[in-house]
Amino acid sequence: MNTAAHELDTLINRDYEYGFESDIDSDMAPKGLSEETIRFISERKQEPGFLLEWRLKAYRHWLTLKSPNWSSVHYPPINFQDIIYYSAPKLRDNAPKSLEEIDPELLRTYDKLGIPLKEQELLAGVAVDAVFDSVSVATTFKDRLAREGIVFCSFSEAARLHPELVKQYMGSVVSYMDNFYAALNSAVFSDGTFCYIPPGVKCPMELSTYFRINAKNSGQFERTLIIADKGASVSYLEGCTAPMRDENQLHAAVVELIALEDAQIRYSTVQNWYPGDKDGKGGIFNFVTKRGDCRGSRSRISWTQVETGSAITWKYPSVILRGDDSVGEFYSVALTNNCQQADTGTKMLHIGRNTRSTIVSKGISAGRGQNAYRGLVKVLKGAENARNYSQCDSLLLGNRCAAHTFPYIEVKNPTAKVEHEATTSRIGEDQLFYCMQRGLSAEDAVSMIVNGFCREVFKKLPMEFAVEAQKLLGVSLEGSIG
C-alpha cells in the first residue's frame, strides 16, 4: 500500500500538463467594459452594422442585471472592468491563406496540445476550426465541406460572408436577455464557430474545434451557432485545455443549436481546463449557456459532456422540444477533485406532442470537490404523450467531498410520463475487494469501477473522444483514494 500511496502522491502532485503560455504579440482591447470596448471589438472584426446594434442592446440590458447567486457554487465577485475583452494574435497584413502563413509559434503551441493540424487533416479525417484566444486561425477541410454546401467557419467570418444566416438564427435560442452571462457574452463575444448544414445533407465528418485560452486576463467569450436544416445531420466535438494561471479566468460562452424538421445534431464536449491548484487557487470559471432548439418535427438534439476541468463549472445544456416527435438527450459525466466545484445539469422543455427526453448524469466527487446536478423537466399543456426518463447518480470518493441533486419536475399534461431516479453512494467495499482479490491495485480497481459507472455516457461519445475521456478520467482521479 505504501508504494501505491507514493505513486499516488506523485500523480496527484504533478502539475497541470498543459500549463504553458505562448509568447505571441497580441492585439488587445484596453481593459474594461464599456460601449467603446464593444465598438472596438465590432470594428476589429469588420462586422456588419446589425451585429454592433445587437451587441449594444445586449450590453445595455446587461447593465440592468445582477450577477445570479442561486447556484451552489462559491467564488469571489468578478470585477468585469478588470478583464480584457478582446485579444487577437497580431495578423501580418491579412488573414493567412494556408497553414504555412501561420505564426510558427502558434503552430508549436498546437503541437504541444497534441493537435497537429497538418497530420490531422490527413489522418484523423476531422475538420478542425482551431480557436486561439479570440480569432479563428486556421480552418481545414473547408473545401471538402464546401462541396457539400456546408458552411463551417469562424463566427466573424460567417457574420461577413453569410450575414443573412447569422441575422436569422443568432439569439433565436439564447436571447441576449436570457441571463446575466448570456447578456455579457452577447455584448462582447469575440469569436466562435458557425456551422450550417443545408437540407438533406449528412455531414461527412465529425466537426471539431479546440478552444484555448491564452493571453493573460483575457476572458474568453465564444459564441457557437449550429444550424441543421431540414433532414440534415451533424456531429460536433468540442474540447478544451488552457494554460496555467494564478488569477481566475472567466469563460462565458453561448452555444446555440437549431435543428429543423428531421434534422439531428450531436454535440459532444470534453472539457479539461485548468482546475486550479490543490488549494483551489486559480483555475477557470466556466459559466456557459448552451441550448438547443428542436424546432422541426422529428428533430433530435443530443448533448454529451465530460467535464473534468475548470475551478467552477456552471452550465446546463438544454433542449427545447418544440417540434412534434422531437427528441432531446443529455449525457454527462462531471468530475470534481481537489477544490473544484460543478453545478451542472440540463433543462428539457417539452412543448410538442410525443416529445421524448433522456437525461443520464453521472457526478463524481473526490477530494474537497463539490458536485451538483440541477435539472428541470417541464412538460407544458400541449405536450401530449411527452416522455422523460432521468437518472442522476453520484459517486463520492473521500469524506470531504459533497454531491447534491436538485431535480425540478413540472408537469402540466396528464398524458405525460416523467420518471426521475437518483442515487448517491461511494464505491462498495465488496466491489473493491473483488477487484483487488483478482490482483488489481486499489488505484486500478477504482479507475475501473468509475469507468464502469460512466460507461453509459462514454458510449455516447464519438470514438476518438471516448478514448480521450476515459484517460482523462483516470488521470483526474488519480490520488483521490488511498
Binding site: 442561486w70 459533497a402 425540478y408 419536475i409 408537469v411 398524458t415 410520463k417
Partner: protein
C-alpha cells in the same frame, strides 16, 4: 419584495397589532419575544415567488384579503365539527383559543397535556428557552411568534407509553376573513411512545398559521398524524420542526385534503446516533386547490436513516408542489436516505411540481430518490374494464389504491380505517371540501 407583498405585510401587521389582546399579563421575556418577532416580520416580510422555496406557491391571490385576528366565538358553534363521543386525551381550540368545555385534559405524572398559556406560567424557564426562536427566517413563523394566543403543551414522561392517541383539534369559524396562530409544543421523554393527531377544520374564509415544535428524547417514538381538512375557502400555512435524539424514531403522515391554498413545511433533524424518521404524505386536490408540502431531513449524526414517501392525486385545475430535501452532514457517516414522490394527474388542467433534492457532504452514505408524474396506467384500467367494471368505477378503484399505499403505513388500525373512509369520501365527493369532515373520535 413586490409592492403588493409589502403593502399586505404592512396592513396585516397594523391590523393584527390593533386586534391583539392578551388574556393575562405576560412575562417580560414573552413580551420581548413578541417585539422581536414583529421586528423580524417587518424586515422579512411575506415570501414571494422570487424566493427559491416559494417558487411554485404564490401568495398573491390571498394578499388582497384583509385578514383580522380571529374573534372569540361560543364553544357551541364548533360542535358540528367535533364528534360527540369524546376520548380521553383531547384538546380543542376554537379560533386559536383553548376551549375547555370541549377538551379533556390530562395532567398526570406520566402525561401532561395542558394549554400553552398555562404551561408558561407553570414552567416559565423551560419554555423561555425553547420558545424564543432567534432565527426567524420567514415571515409566517415571525407572525406566529408575535401573535400566537394559545396552543397545546404536551410532555410525556420517560418510559411512558399511553395506549390511546392524543388528539389536538383546531377549529376556525370565520364569517369575515380572519387568522389564527396556534402553537404546539411536544416533548417525548426517553424511551416513551405516543400517537398524536393534529387536526385542522373550519368554516369560511380564514388563514391558519401554525407552528409545531417536537422534541424526541433518546429512544423515544412518535407517530404523528397531521390532518389538514380546512374549509374550502381557507388558507393554511403550517410549520413543523422535529428534533430527534439518539435512537429515537419519528413517523409522520401529513394528509392535505382541504383549503384553497395550503403549505406545510416539515423539518426533521436527526440529531443523535441511530435516529430515524419515516415521513409520509398525501395531497389530494380538486377545483383550484393548491397543496404544497416541503420537507427537510437533516442527517446530523452517524447511523441515521430516513425514508420519505409522498403522493399526490390531482383533479380539475388543482396543483401540488412537493419539495423534499435531504441533507447528510459531514459527520453523518453510515446514513441511509430514501425518498419517493409519485404524482397522479387526473385532469388536463392539473399540475404537479416535484423537487426531490439530495445534499450529501459525506461519502459513507446510501441515498436515493425517485419521482414520477403521470396518469393512471392504461393497461390496469383496461384489465378492470375487461372484467366488466365500468370506466368510472375502475378509475376510482385505481385512484384509491394509489392513495392506500400511504395509509397502509399508519400503525394504529383505528386511525388507518377512519382515514381511509375520509379519503374515500374526499375522492368521491370533492365538492364538500374539508368542512364536512368532522374529526373522528372513538
Amino acid at each position: 419584495m413586490s409592492t403588493i407583498h409589502s403593502e399586505a405585510a404592512e396592513r396585516w401587521l397594523k391590523d393584527f397589532q390593533s386586534d391583539f389582546s392578551k388574556s393575562a399579563p405576560e412575562s417580560s421575556w414573552l413580551q420581548t419575544s413578541r417585539r422581536q418577532a414583529i421586528a423580524a416580520f417587518s424586515t422579512r416580510g411575506l415570501p414571494t415567488t422570487r424566493m427559491e422555496s416559494w417558487k411554485y406557491t404564490s401568495l398573491s391571490p390571498m394578499l388582497a384579503t384583509g385578514f383580522r385576528l380571529a374573534p372569540q366565538v361560543e364553544d357551541s358553534a364548533a360542535l358540528p365539527y367535533i364528534e360527540k363521543s369524546l376520548p380521553a386525551n383531547r384538546m380543542v381550540f376554537i379560533n386559536g383559543r383553548y376551549a375547555p368545555g370541549l377538551s379533556n385534559l390530562r395532567d398526570t405524572e406520566s402525561l401532561i397535556l395542558i394549554p400553552l398559556t398555562e404551561a408558561i406560567s407553570r414552567y416559565p424557564q423551560e419554555l423561555e428557552q425553547c420558545m424564543v426562536n432567534p432565527h426567524l427566517d420567514n415571515g409566517f413563523s415571525a407572525l406566529n411568534e408575535a401573535f400566537w394566543q394559545d396552543g397545546a403543551y404536551l410532555r410525556l414522561a420517560p418510559h411512558a407509553k399511553p395506549d390511546s392517541p392524543v388528539y389536538l383539534t383546531f377549529v376556525t369559524l370565520a364569517d369575515q376573513p380572519c387568522v389564527t396562530h396556534p402553537r404546539v409544543m411536544l416533548f417525548i421523554g426517553e424511551n416513551a411512545a405516543l400517537t398524536l393527531v393534529e387536526n385542522y377544520v373550519g368554516k369560511g374564509p380564514y388563514l391558519t398559521n401554525t407552528q409545531s415544535a417536537i422534541h424526541l428524547e433518546k429512544e423515544a417514538r412518535l407517530d404523528y398524524l397531521r390532518l389538514q381538512c380546512e374549509s374550502p375557502a381557507a388558507h393554511h400555512i403550517g410549520e413543523v420542526s422535529v428534533i430527534a435524539e439518539a435512537g429515537s424514531s419519528f413517523q409522520s403522515h401529513s394528509i392535505a385534503l382541504g383549503g384553497v391554498l395550503a403549505r406545510v413545511s416539515l423539518s426533521t433533524r436527526l440529531n443523535g446516533n441511530g435516529a430515524s424518521c419515516k415521513l409520509h404524505g398525501l395531497m389530494i386536490g380538486h377545483g383550484h386547490q393548491h397543496q404544497d408540502e416541503h420537507t427537510h431531513i437533516q442527517h446530523a449524526k452517524p447511523d441515521t436513516s430516513s425514508e420519505e414517501h409522498y403522493r399526490s392525486i390531482l383533479d380539475d385545475a388543482s396543483r401540488s408542489v412537493f419539495c423534499g430535501r435531504v441533507t447528510v452532514e459531514e459527520g453523518a457517516s453510515q446514513s441511509k436516505a430514501q425518498q419517493a414522490s409519485h404524482n397522479l394527474l387526473l385532469s388536463r388542467e392539473a399540475e404537479a411540481d416535484t423537487l426531490p433534492q439530495l445534499e450529501i457532504f459525506n461519502d459513507d452514505v446510501r441515498c436515493s430518490h425517485g419521482a414520477t408524474v403521470g396518469q393512471l396506467d392504461e393497461t390496469a384500467l383496461f384489465y378492470l374494464k375487461s372484467r366488466g367494471i365500468g370506466q368510472g368505477e375502475a378509475i376510482t378503484m385505481l385512484t384509491r389504491a394509489f392513495a392506500q399505499v400511504i395509509l397502509d403505513s399508519i400503525i394504529n388500525p383505528f386511525l388507518q380505517e377512519k382515514l381511509g373512509a375520509l379519503i374515500g369520501d374526499k375522492l368521491d365527493k370533492p365538492q364538500d371540501g374539508g368542512a364536512k369532515h368532522v374529526f373522528f373520535h372513538g
